[in-house]
């Protein structure tokens, strides 16, 4: 197969290239904190 070469470079994977990288827990979206119920927001301070 002629790939019609254009350039050469080097790749040294940071992660194990034999395994597809899985998103780490740091990459997982953090669920939005739900807004507090309105009655709590408006509850008078005791």
């Amino acid at each position: 197969m002629d790939i019609k070469p254009r350039r050469a470079y080097t790749i040294d994977p940071l992660e194990d290239p034999l395994r597809e990288s899985q998103p780490s827990s740091d990459d997982e979206p953090v669920a939005d904190t739900p807004d507090p119920p309105a009655e709590l927001e408006e509850a008078p301070l005791r």
């Binding site: 197969m1 002629d2 790939i3 019609k4 070469p5 254009r6 350039r7 050469a8 470079y9 080097t10 790749i11 040294d12 994977p13 940071l14 290239p17 034999l18 395994r19 597809e20």
Partner: protein, 198 residues
């Protein structure tokens, strides 16, 4: 510092490139392995497949000066290295290459995604690289040989630790139709769906 190719310069990138390619599937007793189509190199399990340059050996088999011209793949000036295509249609064109040559150990053809790294030559149509490992293995419906069944082959190739999927008849037909550059949108979507994370 580079760990591939013996040089000590800093790498240009840190993520493998991922392309499409074909393999033959060979059977050795109960074991099934991927093998290059044009060469007899069997892809190892749980370790990178490392390319060698046969081109310099073929061109200069008996001349000492020829051996001196051997090099570590992949380089711009040679055709060596582990090949992968950007487009699945280009890779699918190799599904039947050399299929008319009787090879006792060959029991099927496989198609799929491959990660490439090390020394990489990038081209308009794909890549050549010094190191590779399969990312996803797809098995066409028909074409098994030697009495092996698709479930046996799929189970055997699971040793690579990557997803192995048997294409249904429709996807197989569409993939083969892709030889003429008219791979159906359905197949492209189906294959891409299976490799969305690649």
């Amino acid at each position: 510092m580079r760990r591939h190719g013996g040089a000590t310069s800093a790498p240009d990138y840190f993520e493998p490139v991922v392309g499409w390619r074909c393999w033959t599937v060979v059977r050795n007793g109960p074991r099934f392995r991927l093998r290059s189509i044009a060469f007899t190199d069997v892809w190892p399990v749980d370790e990178a497949f490392v390319a060698r340059c046969y081109e310099s050996v073929r061109r200069f088999p008996l001349r000492r000066s020829g051996w001196q011209r051997q090099h570590l793949p992949a380089v711009l000036e040679c055709d060596c290295g582990i090949h992968a295509a950007r487009d699945l249609e280009a890779a699918a064109a190799y599904l039947d290459l050399y299929d008319d040559i009787s090879q006792r150990s060959v029991c099927h053809r496989a198609f799929g995604r491959v990660a490439l790294w090390g020394t990489v030559v990038e081209g308009e149509l794909g890549w050549r690289a010094s190191h590779a490992y399969p990312r996803r293995i797809l098995l066409p419906q028909n074409g098994t040989k030697g009495g092996s069944t698709l479930p046996e082959i799929a189970n055997g190739l699971s040793a690579y630790g990557v997803p192995v999927e048997v294409l249904d008849a429709e996807d197989t037909a569409s993939l083969r139709a892709g030889w003429s550059g008219s791979c159906s949108e359905k197949t492209a979507i189906s294959l891409a769906r299976g490799s969305a994370a690649l």
